[in-house]
Symmetry: C2
Subunit: 218 residues, 2 copies
């Protein structure tokens, strides 16, 4: 019998519970790697197990089913991504340094973790079909929106200009830009990142400098 069931009775030493939870995250990590590589539609439990130190049978010992595993995986994603820009926020003291720091981080994220983020967009699309995923995906989405809002709040602080758009609109814009870039970037478009950064800078300037007379581009 799995520890998890007994755990609910509260009779198990913390040590065991931790071990159980640790192995869960260890296996979820393996699932994470597999999903990032193959995508939701092509990821099987056996493939996940092969990216771990165990055989495929053990997955059913730690997870009730496939969706349970993937949800655990999704939570792992959240913990990993959601504080990404907080260090930059804390360090930057002027509009220019904040802008450069944020946009550099945005570009670096694209280049270094494209796989991770394509998994995010894949899973968010799956949530459109699988109700079981929706709660967790929506939760992460809100966290990401809050993450962006923290950045913009810092911009507001530094510039003295209250952010003139709602949080949801700001998130939609940056998320849209990021997603647009990701597809182009993975398709081999070397200028995609540059264009995304330019558009993000344009957005920031429009928000905090009231500049709208910039030129057209693609």
């Amino acid at each position: 019998m799995a520890v998890a069931e007994v755990h609910s009775l509260g009779r198990i030493p913390r040590k065991r519970v931790d071990k159980f939870a640790e192995r869960r995250t260890e296996l979820a990590e393996a699932a994470f790697v597999t999903l990032a590589e193959l995508g939701y539609a092509r990821t099987s439990l056996r493939e996940i197990a092969q990216n771990s130190a165990f055989t495929h049978g053990v997955l059913h010992y730690y997870f009730t089913d496939k969706v349970d595993l993937i949800i655990c995986c999704v939570r792992l994603y959240k913990a990993r991504c959601v504080t990404r820009y907080d260090r930059i926020i804390a360090e930057a003291g002027s509009y220019d340094s904040l802008c450069d720091g944020f946009l550099d981080a945005l570009a670096a994220t694209m280049r270094d973790e494209a796989q991770l983020h394509r998994l995010w967009y894949d899973l968010r699309a799956q949530a459109l079909y699988e109700p079981g995923l929706r709660v967790d995906i929506l939760d992460i989405d809100h966290s990401l929106e809050a993450m962006i809002w923290r950045v913009l709040d810092r911009f507001a602080e530094v510039t003295g200009v209250a952010t003139p758009i709602p949080s949801a609109l700001a998130y939609a814009t940056f998320d849209g830009l990021f997603q647009q870039c990701l597809l182009q970037y993975l398709a081999g478009d070397d200028w995609a990142v540059t264009r995304m950064v330019a558009n993000a800078r344009l957005t920031l300037e429009a928000l905090y400098r009231g500049e709208t007379e910039t030129r057209r581009g693609s």
Copy 2:
């Protein structure tokens, strides 16, 4: 032997070719329905055939493989969506009527064709993994960007204000808003559409009225 092969030799009467193409689109339509209902990951060739008048064996007569079918499907999507707002553009003569027309259409699209659009986001996510889909998906993406741009161009015409942001940024924004709304809407959030429309209106006003002093919301 399939007509397609002989067709490449150019020796077949147009009538036959048309029939072949027509049946292809007929089957692609069945695939389309299935995909919209189940999503990419859960759609099988047998399920597609069951949504058509034929058995699953015939799919291999008209399509070389599954990806071929889905690409055909994707092209069908394009033809269906890409001119959605053109009528409104043509009819509306003032900023207000254009705004109302566009936003109403946006809301109606969400409410009436949520399934169709979740398929789009699903397939676009698949393109992040399957190189075979990328060319077609990118092509559609550009068409959708152009569609949004036609709307904004009309706004520019009506208001006399040149659209102050590049096409790609505009598309990213509206696409991001739409996608954000779709997830919330499918999760049962009855106010999602209202919020999306509000944010879209905010964006349009910022673009063509230079108004940035609107209040915050979620």
